[in-house]
């Protein structure tokens, strides 16, 4: 069976919630999921509440589209949390410790330079930015590759990364074995572009020989 991974997009934000919630222990060392949707209608919600191995709270804000306007919602969530953290702490007493400055993981497909700097300065070092790429295999199983995005303007701030792979049932994928060759080539070129790999010097004829 082909193990080809093709790039996939996440249209439904719930899909990203499902994928990330299944990978909490990989993203947060020794971590586990506590709850979904922390917040309220007016201010918006953190998508996931987790705990690390020391049972300290970790909040997840998921931005599946990467749209910057979503971060207004994030700022409102932060405001809501800071005003209500004592109540929230009581709510989760015994399960997870939550402090006034929460540890937050933001997950998005991309960050502009300016937005990265803004986000990393919202709450200082307690905010971690994670960039995801979504792939699906020939069975339509989706997986995420997640990288830690650091403030590259900071000295030595370029070494962090993480890679997690998660799977969950997904929409039916393209049937790779039965796909016409021209379609396969199109897929392949698109995939490489997503991966920032330049194969523009490879002709269709050459790709046909590689695929054949």
């Amino acid at each position: 069976m082909s193990r080809l991974l093709t790039p996939a997009s996440i249209v439904d934000p719930r899909e990203l919630v499902e994928l990330v919630s299944g990978a909490i222990s990989e993203i947060v060392s020794g971590g586990f999921l506590i709850d979904f949707a922390l917040g309220n209608e007016e201010y918006g919600y953190f998508d996931l509440v987790a705990a690390n191995e020391n049972r300290e709270g970790v909040l997840f804000f998921l931005n599946s589209s990467g749209d910057e306007v979503e971060y207004l919602r994030f700022l409102k969530c932060m405001c809501w949390y800071q005003e209500n953290w004592r109540t929230v702490q009581k709510l989760h007493a015994g399960r997870v410790a939550l402090g006034p400055i929460p540890t937050v993981f933001v997950v998005a497909p991309r960050y502009s330079n300016s937005m990265r700097k803004v986000l990393l300065n919202v709450g200082g070092s307690r905010i971690t930015l994670l960039k995801y790429n979504c792939f699906q295999d020939s069975n339509g199983k989706k997986s995420l590759s997640i990288e830690k995005v650091e403030d590259s303007s900071a000295v030595g701030g370029k070494t962090g990364f993480m890679y997690v792979s998660t799977t969950c049932p997904s929409r039916p994928a393209a049937d790779w074995p039965n796909m016409p060759m021209a379609e396969k080539i199109k897929y392949l070129r698109e995939f490489c572009r997503e991966m920032e790999a330049d194969i523009s010097n490879v002709s269709d004829e050459e790709l046909l020989d590689l695929l054949g």
């Binding site: 000295v155 392949l188 490879v202």
Partner: protein, 288 residues
């Protein structure tokens, strides 16, 4: 063969390729004065990784290959363009990126930094890392400047690890290039693309066929076979493609997590990954 040129490995030729560039790089760096060239020339190899998405693997092989070279009493420089994804320092067992940085006296280098890494009983490893993030564009002439660094000039082998995309300067010619690929079709396509791009100056490619230990390596070998056929059909005559099976075993995984190079672990002899890296190293150093 026609216009095919012999691969160049001499330092002066490498310098000639890089230094005449007139492209302004907006860098405040001083261009080093032309110094006397060393009597011997370092061998210069790119390690081109076509494995994605698996960001740790690419640096794993470059890092361990450099340690293996050092084990063979050869000084080595690893120029790592991993940028945000670079895990080489972690794999070398270093924690703080800046603490051991060495800036050579009399030179100002805003674009890269040099580090000296020493393991007991091994030749010196010099690690060169970009000092600026990827999006700030690594200036075009900087690789040329790195190659004129005294420390780099005097080493036996230079490895360039560029997992993030194009090499900063692709015009150079290499005696050999190392390509790491796996069983996925995009990996083959990237590998083929690299061979095509470099084939005007490099005729010898070592293909590391990477697979997980316990997984059937036949799939990746079938892919390599297709790649070889396509290369021999479409690319210049005279290409040599050597294939080395590169299993990723438990020892390799433990090494990645522990930040201790595979060759320095207690039982490297038991690791098939370590064996493959040693074979690759032998092939480079013998210049077969």
């Amino acid at each position: 063969m026609g216009d095919m040129k012999r691969p160049a490995k001499g330092f002066d030729e490498i310098s000639r390729v890089f230094l005449p560039s007139t492209t302004p790089d907006h860098s405040a760096e001083m261009v080093p004065q032309a110094a006397a060239l060393p009597s011997r020339s370092p061998l210069l190899f790119p390690v081109l990784c076509c494995l994605s998405p698996a960001p740790a693997v690419e640096s794993f092989f470059a890092c361990n290959l450099s340690v293996e070279i050092a084990k063979n009493n050869k000084t080595v420089t690893l120029i790592d363009f991993g940028f945000e994804r670079s895990v080489v320092r972690h794999l070398m067992g270093c924690s703080n990126p800046i603490s051991n940085a060495v800036t050579p006296a009399g030179a100002l280098h805003p674009d890269y930094r040099l580090e000296s890494i020493k393991f007991d009983g091994l030749a010196e490893i010099t690690l060169v890392l970009p000092a600026r993030p990827r999006e700030l564009n690594f200036p075009k002439r900087t690789l040329g400047r790195i190659l004129t660094e005294d420390k780099v000039r005097k080493c036996n082998v230079i490895l360039i690890n560029s997992p993030m995309g194009p090499m900063p300067e692709i015009r150079t010619r290499f005696p050999k290039a190392i390509l790491l690929i796996d069983d996925q079709i995009h990996s083959l396509a990237r590998g083929y693309s690299w061979i095509k791009r470099l084939s005007s100056g490099c005729l010898c490619f070592i293909i590391g066929a990477v697979h997980r230990e316990g997984e059937d390596s036949k799939t990746v070998m079938r892919g390599v076979s297709k790649l070889q056929n396509a290369a021999f059909k479409h690319l210049p005559v005279g290409l040599k493609l050597r294939v080395i099976s590169m299993p990723l075993d438990m020892e390799a995984r433990a090494s990645m997590h522990s930040g201790k190079p595979l060759a320095l672990r207690e039982s490297p002899a038991l690791s098939s990954s370590a064996g493959a890296i040693a074979k690759l190293c032998g092939s480079l150093l013998r210049n077969e």
